[in-house]
Assembly symmetry: C2
Homo-oligomer: 426 residues x 2
């Protein structure tokens, strides 16, 4: 019987797991340093909790789970797979009215979407969110900007990224000023393509929809100059100044105002941001903003909220392509060979001793003897060292330590083996 994984899903074998754990470890440490705390929610949610939260498209892409028993035979679904991490956060806030606020949580868990599988797009993928619930001010906004900035830096993108900020009400004022308030939705869809099409391209795109973008484009020609919008939208401009100043104090130095940033503005209520890897046309790897209305709408308390999401799957791909992931790490540091049934006890006892000393150790698991076969097997599985010990070595209390890549071999007293096998420092 041929056996396949489900379409659009992946297994992570040890080498991939190491890379993912390395990246997630850095990200989690950054979140923790910023005082965000971990939350996990179940993969399965009640259908009612998710229904209507993600629009028509989301409805189609939600995986629904058949009822057990009679209802299931009739095709009824009562559960669904988690579609994002925001609705579950809102549910947790609603279910825990005594949760002390502000609640700064991070959550790194898979979500499921029935997308058409294609290169780089999966049906099960990790989301990685930081949110602050219950803090309405610019300090909280800046904290989200700073934590995303710090995470991207900690991953190794020191120079090649920028973090763009905008404000929903600023862009709305620009659209209204251009006399396009009634076409706002289509205008924002077009402006959202600014980084791909440029200003003239956006103008053409608007024309196609019968919209005259002349005045709008004239305004947005000064997209990086906050002063240019101070008269039109004094409140949002003041808020953005404050966010940018706070973020700079927190160490986020690569923050730029960009009035063309239009990401999902329907969802956001105030400042919003996006991080782009600038070299290599990678585009957005993180985004977020303030969404004060959402948690209340989802049945929670009426609490303000602001957050940022890292595109961790995309970052993993980019880091892999650029050689930014550790290669071949992990697994046992050495395999102890087994000379004979008689010496196996000494070998296993040495394994126990080394493990107690914190060294990751394998022992040969096949028939004793046949040293060449044992060494070949260890090398094939990428184990860096082998320890050869027969009756003579055991009697003398010193083993042969062989580096499998080079074949270099040296005699090491057993009580110095843990030290000899210790990983080199960073």
């Amino acid at each position: 019987m041929p056996v396949f994984a489900a379409r659009g899903t992946r297994d992570f074998l040890p080498a991939e797991m190491r890379a993912r754990e390395h990246v997630l470890g850095i990200v989690r440490r950054t979140f923790e340093l910023h005082g965000f705390q971990p939350l996990e929610t179940p993969a399965i949610e009640r259908v009612e909790t998710l229904a209507g939260q993600y629009g028509e498209e989301g409805e189609k892409l939600t995986f629904r789970i058949l009822e057990r028993g009679e209802g299931g035979r009739e095709g009824k679904a009562d559960l669904a797979l988690r579609y994002d991490l925001t609705v579950p956060l809102a549910r947790v806030v609603a279910m825990n009215p005594s949760l002390p606020l502000p609640f700064k949580r991070y959550q790194v868990q898979p979500v499921w979407r029935a997308e058409r599988p294609q290169k780089g797009r999966f049906r099960e993928f990790l989301q990685c969110d930081c949110d602050i619930v219950g803090a309405p001010g610019r300090l909280a906004d800046a904290e989200c900007v700073a934590v995303a900035h710090a995470a991207i830096e900690a991953l190794g993108f020191s120079e090649g990224f920028e973090l763009l900020v905008n404000h929903r009400e600023l862009l709305r004022a620009v659209v209204a000023d251009a006399g396009l308030a009634e076409q706002e939705h289509q205008v924002l869809v077009s402006v959202d393509k600014w980084d791909k099409l440029g200003g003239p391209g956006v103008g053409e795109d608007l024309s196609k929809h019968g919209i005259d973008g002349t005045r709008l484009l004239a305004r947005l020609a000064h997209a990086h100059d906050l002063d240019a919008f101070a008269e039109l939208a004094p409140g949002p401009v003041a808020e953005l100044r404050e966010v940018i100043a706070h973020a700079a104090a927190l160490g986020a130095t690569r923050v730029t105002f960009d009035a063309t940033l239009a990401r999902g503005l329907g969802y956001y209520t105030g400042p919003c941001w996006e991080t782009r890897i600038t070299d290599g046309g990678v585009g957005s790897v993180s985004g977020g903003g303030r969404y004060d209305g959402l948690i209340g709408r989802l049945g929670g308390r009426e609490v303000p909220a602001v957050g940022v999401s890292l595109g961790i799957e995309r970052l993993l791909v980019v880091m892999g392509e650029r050689g930014m992931l550790p290669a071949g790490v992990g697994g046992a540091r050495a395999m102890l060979t087994v000379f004979s049934a008689e010496t196996s006890g000494a070998t296993l006892a040495l394994a126990a001793r080394l493990r107690k000393a914190g060294v990751s150790i394998e022992t040969w698991l096949g028939e004793p003897g046949a040293l060449g076969k044992q060494l070949k097997n260890a090398a094939a599985r990428g184990v860096p060292f082998a320890v050869v010990m027969g009756p003579d070595e055991i009697a003398r209390g010193a083993v042969q330590l062989k580096e499998l890549r080079t074949g270099v071999q040296e005699r090491v007293p057993m009580d110095q083996l843990a030290g000899a096998l210790a990983e080199p420092g960073p």
Copy 2:
């Protein structure tokens, strides 16, 4: 709109996450020290992959996912949620024919079962498995015994546990010798209750099913004496001697032969084992054995396999009840208060500096001022320290560091603050 989590599922808020991460961290480190490597597989598998693998009961308890589009409207399911970690392992081995063997993998992921929710039983729960694929011998068996033993020890159960071993063919020989080969299934179901009912209770249970257990019970009266079975089942006894000796050499000192251990023997093909917490009637917290037939049957290569599973959810409950979990750990080490809009830059810059030094820091996120409110909020959220800094402190380069539990306050130069906030060593 009232919002609930799905029945039988749990949210893990930060305090619970800390406890779980603490326990999983110890378990993962133990697995790594023994040379097991991480694997993760998707939550969703094709219905065909899981169908027929878990018997009639398992079929009922499997969560199935509706097809998207037309098929779904007709109630057709094409995917199902992961039910255990063994079938996915077999699928991975089948899909990766060039995987070097032996493959020692650990996997810590949730599984889903539509059990009737009740105290301590959930529909989404973690499984935690170590398996060795491709090593047929007793060294591999002993390695699984040793890794489970080491994990339970590392979690802090130093004296209060025992690891029982038996052999499928030994128990089968005992049953055949008692003339009960044809009733083997029912006999094993009854013998499986030995630790709860004792020998006489098992005898009564057999009687209820019309089975005369006299000769069987006479044999099993010597359940802990391997010699008593040497004539009846010489092969299995020799294998168990070898497993026990190897495991002892690997440091597993609390291993006992128990001929009454009957756990899921239909599944196993050789030695099998179970770990029990002996004080407090907790019972089994880990089990496993050799299952050479399974991976081939599941469509993989014909490869031997042996493994052990930790009952991690049960261990978490027991450790919680016994105060073996770290309390109140995690979260920011200190909250930096914000005196005024003018001083906020200095406060945020100090936060950035402390975070760079590896100290987890929060800053006050509300309106500046109102120091009492800021301190109260930090204390309510369990932050251990607060840092008070106004214009005077900033001018002098020294802040007030306040321990929130005790109210004790001291003056600390800013450049010594990271040291003062460092966590006490273990």
